[in-house]
Amino acid sequence: MTTPASRTRTTEFEEQFTGGFRNASRVKTGIIELDEMLRGGFMGGDAVLVAGSAGSGKTTLALQYLVNGIVKFGEPGIYVTFEQMPDQIYRDAKNFGWDLRKLEQENKFRLICTSPDLLLESQGENLLDEAIKEIHPRRIVIDSLSHLEMFLPKGDLRKEAYRIVSYLKTKGMSSILIWEAGQMTNSFSVTEAGLSFLVDCIVALKPIEIESSVRKALAILKMRGSDHDKQLRQFEITPTGIKIESAFSNYEGLMSGSPRRVASEKFVELFRSASEKHK
C-alpha cells in the first residue's frame, strides 16, 4: 500500500521525469490572463523588469505576484522596499484583501525596508541572508531598481544591477525588479540604462489617453526563451487586484503616445453613419 508521503515523493518524481518539470519551471503570477499572455507564467528563476510610471500599478502587480505565490502555489516571498514605508504597504495590501502581517507571522513572507546602499554592500553578510534562511523564499520583489541609481556613480547601475540579479538567481529566486519610468513618457528609458539585456522579461505598464480618458495598458516587451502575447492589453485595478482585459484592437500608435483608430474602424464608422443618413 502506498503511504501519503511516498505518494507525494512518487508524484514529484513523475512530474520531473514525465514532462511535468516543464510546467513546474513556470512561475505563475496567479493572474490568469497574465499567465496566459506569458504562456503559463514567467520562466523559473528569471529576473523580470516591471516598468511603468507612478500610479501605473507596478506595486500592486508585484504584491499580487508574491501573495498569489504564497497562497496559491506555496512559494514564500520577500518584498524589498527602499522608499515606501512598510506600514503603508501593509495598509494598501489589506485593501485588496491581502493580510501581509499574517503571512509574515506564518513565516511565508518578509517585508524589508532599507536603504539602497545596504543592498549594494558587497562584503560580508548580505542584507537578505537572514530572511532567506528564515523563510526559504522562491520569489522576491525589489522596489525599485531606479531608486538604486541615486546611490551609484553614473554608469554603474548596469554593473550593480547585474550583481544583484546574479545573487538572486544563485539563491534560486524568481525576481520582479520594479523600474519607475517618467510620467506619460513615450519610452521606458530601460534601454538607456542598459537594463533590458540584463533582465529576462520586461512587462511594461502604461497610462494611455483615449478620447479624453486615461486607461491603463500592459504589454510584454520581451521574454527570453519563450513565446508570449504581443498585444497591448487594457487592465484595471479592481478591489481584488489587477484584472487584465481585452486588447486595444481598434487603436494604433498607443505606445508612441498618439493613439488613433485603425483605418478599418474609421471606415466602419463612416459607413454606419452614411447608412443611417440614408434611412
Binding site: 512598510p86 524589508i112 525596508c113 532599507t114 545596504l118 554592500e121 553578510e125 548580505n126 542584507l127
Partner: protein, 98 residues
C-alpha cells in the same frame, strides 16, 4: 525601583525613543543605518544616536553588520518580552489603584 519601572522610565525618557518605538513597531521589517533611520523620522543621525544606544541596551533594537555598514533593526523576540513586561506592570499598577 523595580526592573519594570526602570524599563518604562527609560522607554519614556525622550521623544526620540517614542518616535523610534512607533517607527519600528509599525514597520517591523525596517533594517537601516542610524542615518537612514533618522531620515525616516525627520531627524539626523547624530540626534538619535544616544537613544538608539539605550534601546539597543534594553534589547528592543539590535545591531548587525551588513558589509561595512552597521544597521539597526527590531529584535522581535526581545521586543515581545519587553511589551509583556510593560503590559504586566500596567495591569499591576491598575490593580493596585482599584
Amino acid at each position: 525601583m523595580n526592573e519594570a519601572t526602570q524599563l518604562i522610565t527609560t522607554l519614556l525618557s525622550s521623544d526620540v525613543k517614542g518616535e523610534l518605538l512607533v517607527l519600528f513597531h509599525r514597520n517591523t521589517g525596517l533594517v537601516d543605518t542610524v542615518e537612514g533611520v533618522a531620515r525616516r523620522i525627520g531627524r539626523t543621525g547624530l540626534s538619535i544616536e544616544n537613544d538608539v544606544r539605550d534601546l539597543v541596551k534594553l534589547g528592543v533594537l539590535k545591531t548587525k553588520k551588513i558589509g561595512t555598514s552597521e544597521v539597526i533593526l527590531l529584535d522581535r523576540n526581545k521586543d515581545r518580552e519587553v511589551l509583556e513586561t510593560v503590559a504586566n506592570h500596567v495591569k499591576t499598577v491598575k490593580g493596585a489603584g482599584n
